[in-house]
């Protein structure tokens, strides 16, 4: 199944890079969203013992005992933080793109680069 995840991550990265290299602001935002998915999944595969099916990052509450099929909780905690932060950044970029598009009447990044013309 690591092969499957590798394909998913690779295609997410490829799509993200292609979209970020476009001139449209809208596509740039879509690219950034894909990029954050890609990075989250990349971190996910780096957990202790790789990815597992049907395991839980949970221990016995009463004994504190670690059960045999337990997955790495650290990567999950990191990704959780990363998801929320990337959402905050995406939201900010969206607002920025919205204002920029309004002020400059274009969503072409090349036109935006030259604000002196306005």
């Amino acid at each position: 199944m690591i092969f499957l995840l590798a394909i998913a991550i690779g295609s997410l990265f490829a799509g993200a890079v292609y979209l970020i290299l476009r001139r449209s602001v809208a596509k740039l935002i879509l690219g950034l969203m894909l990029l954050s998915h890609a990075v989250n999944l990349l971190i996910f595969t780096m957990g202790d013992g790789g990815v597992r099916r049907g395991a839980l990052p949970i221990v016995d509450y009463y004994t504190g005992e670690v059960m045999p099929n337990t997955t790495d909780p650290l990567v999950q905690a990191l990704i959780l933080t990363a998801i929320v932060i990337s959402f905050g950044i995406t939201a900010f970029i969206m607002a920025l793109a919205y204002r920029a598009t309004q002020a400059m009447k274009t969503d072409d990044l090349d036109d935006m680069a030259n604000t002196d013309r306005l």
Binding site: M1, F3, L4, L5, I7, A8, I9, G10, S11, L12, F13, G15, V17, L19, I20, L21, R23, S24, A26, L30, M33, L34, H37, A38, L41, L42, F44, D48, R53, L56, P57, I58, V59, Y61, T63, G64, V66, T71, P73, L74, Q76, A77, L80, T81, I83, V84, I85, F87, G88, I89, T90, A91, M94, A95, A97, T101, Q102, L109, D110, A113
Partner: protein, 819 residues
């Protein structure tokens, strides 16, 4: 006491502003009492230093870095400090008279006092880093002084040259000094003592044996040669003559340019006496000595003539350090004193001539002997001393220089080269001096001179050059006393305590014969000075112009590079990043990581996993090829949902929940955003660019896939996951380890996350609020008046998109119906 002297010099700087008031000549001499006070204080220390040795004061500054405010007053420091404050006193008084009509005198004196403090710091510092700090300060204050008349382009150019050259040298010096410190630590000097000058010199012989010695000295030489205007860094010194004459007389003849000499003399007992040291200094110093003297007599501008003879003299001083030995040390300190006396007198008289006649051009002067007889006497004495005519102090100094060359311990050709340089320079000085004297004072007055009402200046101005000039004449009478005073200085350069006796006439010996021969040839050639000056012996390529071209070239290169790299387009930056990634990560991966990928073992995937994962590439292709915005939003949402499903399938329930929630929010935002953006995606880029980007993107994706596979088989470090699992209940009182990590073990991460969200929130609020403000302004005229000037830009920006908004609302409604 030494520290307070330096601090006092800095503290008196603001007092310079007093000189903004009339009568400036009087205020100038009043202010001259300040450096004079330091001078007197230093004089009281002469006895202590001569009889009891150096005075040392230490104040801890940054002990962990080996930086301490350590001040040492030994013979050499004392000689320099007395020159700095003594000449400084005369210069301040002179400046008051010289710039009597200039309101800028206040500013000028502030710079001058600051410089004096910095220069005192350089010569009194007992720690190389402290010395470096003051060293750089002298460069900066020198820049301010040269650029004093900043409305003239030549002054700005001269100031820029001097700052660039000495600043570059300063950086080199810092590197050299740090290497010296490192070498000192290597040979066992305590870390906190490593930058202590005495400690470095004491460990000198061991440092010389280390590998760091060569490079360290190369950098130190660069620093010293740039500061002391040695060939090929000499050209900034003539350019520095754009400074007002008092500054030229002080900085660019008597004090600052000797900082490089001082540094080398200071290091000589520890670092000197190696082939590298001796041969470099003899070559550079000797060449500059001869070269400067020969360029000097071709000059028409008096100050330029003096500038070239100064840099020649500096070469002579460095030559003395290079020749080494007892005589070298003796000659060095004697020459320093002699040169400081006559050269400051000459510069100040050049200023007087300029002041009275309005020109420094030797072709437009002449016949001043009747108009300015007193000035002529002073110039005459100073020139005789420079030429090294018997009974002047300059003669004694030249005798000792010749002796240093004749008695040098160096291998065969080097002392002879030194001797040749000294003789050439002696001849050159005579020609230059004669040229100056004859064209300025003898012959018939130039018509321009007669137009001005030329006369000797006031005593307030004349006294300053008179004092050092007459000292050049009187010092030979007190040679025993001068020798006692100079002996500790020479000892500091030589490294062992010894005393020596200067004398005017030591019987007929080689040095005297050489000296007389040089005078003879000089006098003979001096009669031909006009023809010699016209003869272009030295190529007329100006170092300053070459340097200008170099600086312009560097600037043009930098501009071009910045334009190419900083295109202002995100795409270009992303491309740089990706290419860098290919090189830094891709190449090592292909070389070392591919084997891991081949050896991977995988259990077969389930059917539903294949479906979920294969929907991701489908979604990506759909996003890229989407023609409408809604299509793209649907495709991206699907990808997000699939990612959430992956989390579900592979044991990350918390992540799946969060991902799903965020995905919904993102989709809502995207819908909102795209409703106000142009309806259809246009392809801005031409087809070949899109194909190129596609190739890059696919290559990047394949590399990342490979990395994932390689990462799955590599286990370089012990994971810390078991720690969290074990400690979750005892340490965090929770069974869901992910949650415990977020709120307990790594709660600062969560705090950071909250801060990021909050900052994003504020920013988004700010971005969107602009609209509201605009409508307020529109609604009421009174509020418009209360808008601050800084907000004007916002108003303009909003005014422009009013039309867009009105047009956009109905059209976006239409689009949604159509999609």
């Amino acid at each position: 006491m030494l520290l307070s002297m330096v601090l006092f010099a800095f503290a008196m700087a603001p007092l310079g502003l007093l000189a903004r008031r009339e009568p400036r000549a009087l205020v100038g001499w009043g202010l001259a009492l300040l450096p004079f006070a330091i001078f007197v204080l230093l004089c009281t220390q002469i006895g202590t230093v001569v009889n009891q040795g150096p005075i040392v004061e230490t104040l801890r500054w940054v002990p962990t870095m080996g930086l301490e405010l350590r001040f040492t007053l030994d013979g050499l420091s004392l000689l320099f400090a007395l020159i700095i404050t003594g000449i400084g006193t005369l210069i301040v008084g002179y400046a008051g008279a010289y710039m009597e009509k200039d309101i800028g005198l206040g500013r000028f004196l502030v710079y001058l006092f600051l410089f004096m403090g910095a220069m005192l710091g350089v010569v009194l510092a007992g720690n190389v880093l402290t010395m470096f700090v003051f060293w750089e300060l002298t460069s900066v204050t020198s820049y301010l002084l040269i650029g004093y008349k900043h409305e003239y382009p030549d002054a700005r150019r001269g100031a820029q040259h001097s700052l660039l050259i000495t600043g570059f040298g300063g950086l080199a010096l810092l590197v050299g000094l740090l290497m010296l410190g490192a070498a000192a630590k290597q040979v066992g000097v305590l870390a906190e003592q490593a930058y202590n000058l005495d400690a470095i010199i004491a460990a000198g012989r061991q440092i010389v044996a280390t590998d760091l010695y060569g490079p360290a000295m190369a950098f130190v030489f660069l620093g010293a040669f740039t500061k002391s205007a040695q060939f090929p860094f000499h050209f900034w010194l003539p350019g520095a003559m754009q400074a007002p004459t008092p500054a030229s007389a002080f900085l660019h003849s008597a004090t600052m340019v000797k900082a490089g000499v001082y540094l080398l003399a200071r290091l000589a007992p520890g670092m000197g006496d190696t082939p590298l040291w001796n041969y470099t200094l003899v070559t550079v110093g000797g060449f500059t000595f001869a070269f400067g003297a020969f360029v000097a007599f071709r000059q028409y501008d008096i100050k330029a003539l003096l500038a070239y003879s100064t840099l020649s003299q500096l070469g002579g001083l460095i030559l003395m350090i290079g020749l080494g030995g007892k005589y070298g040390a003796e000659a060095l300190v004697t020459l320093i004193l002699a040169h400081a006396l006559y050269k400051s007198a000459l510069f100040m008289t050049a200023g007087i001539i300029d002041h009275e006649t309005g020109t420094r051009d030797l072709n437009r002067l002449g016949g001043l002997r009747k108009l300015m007889p007193r000035t002529m006497v002073i110039v005459g004495i100073a020139l005789l001393s420079q030429m090294g005519i018997p009974i002047m102090f300059g003669f004694v100094a030249k005798e000792w220089a010749l002796k240093a060359a004749l008695e040098s311990d160096l291998a065969a050709p080097w002392p002879l080269l030194g001797l040749a340089a000294i003789l050439i320079a002696a001849v050159g000085y005579i020609i230059a001096a004669w040229r100056f004297f004859k064209n300025a004072f003898l012959g018939k007055p130039h018509p321009d001179v007669l137009q001005h009402h030329v006369h000797d200046p006031k005593v307030a101005m004349l006294i300053s050059p008179a004092v050092p000039a007459f000292l050049s004449l009187l010092l030979p009478l007190g040679l025993p006393w001068v020798s006692t005073f100079l002996s500790p200085a020479a000892s500091a350069v030589y490294g062992h305590d010894f005393t020596f006796e200067l004398y005017l006439y030591g019987g007929v010996n080689q040095a005297l014969l050489f000296s007389l021969a040089a005078i003879g040839v000089g006098v003979l050639l001096a009669t031909q000075e006009r023809r010699l000056a016209a003869h272009r012996i030295i190529a007329s390529v100006s170092g300053a112009k070459l340097f200008d071209r170099l600086v312009e070239g560097i600037l043009a290169f930098a501009t071009g590079l910045a334009r190419t790299i900083q295109s202002g387009r995100l795409r270009t930056y992303i491309l740089y990043t990706i290419f860098a990634y290919f090189v830094i990560v891709g190449i090592p991966f292909v070389i070392y990581g591919l084997g891991d990928v081949r050896s991977i073992q995988d259990n077969s995937p389930y059917f539903y996993e294949v479906v979920v994962v294969s929907l991701i590439p489908v979604g990506i292709i759909a996003t890229i090829t989407a023609r409408s915005r809604l299509g793209a939003i649907i495709a991206v949402s699907m990808i997000g949902a699939m990612v959430a499903l992956i989390f579900v399938l592979f044991s990350a329930a918390d992540l799946a929940l969060t991902q799903l929630l965020i995905e919904v929010l993102s989709t809502v935002f995207l819908l909102f955003l795209f409703s106000v953006m142009p309806s259809r995606f246009r392809n801005f880029s031409p087809a070949w660019v899109r194909w190129r980007d596609a190739v890059i993107a696919v290559a990047f994706g394949i590399l990342m896939s490979g990395l994932v596979l390689a990462g799955a088989t590599t286990n370089l470090f012990q994971s810390i996951a078991p720690y969290y699992l074990e400690q979750s209940v005892p340490g965090g009182k929770g069974a869901n380890v992910v949650n415990v990590i977020l709120v307990d073990f790594r709660s600062f991460d969560t705090l950071g996350e909250i801060v990021v969200l909050f900052v994003a929130l504020i920013s988004i609020f700010g971005l969107l609020r602009f609209r509201k403000q605009r409508s307020d302004v529109r609604s009421s005229g009174r509020e418009r008046l209360t808008i601050l000037p800084g907000e004007a830009g916002v108003l303009v920006g909003n005014g422009m998109d009013e039309g867009v908004e009105r047009a956009a609302v109905p059209s976006s409604q239409k689009q949604e119906k159509s999609t």
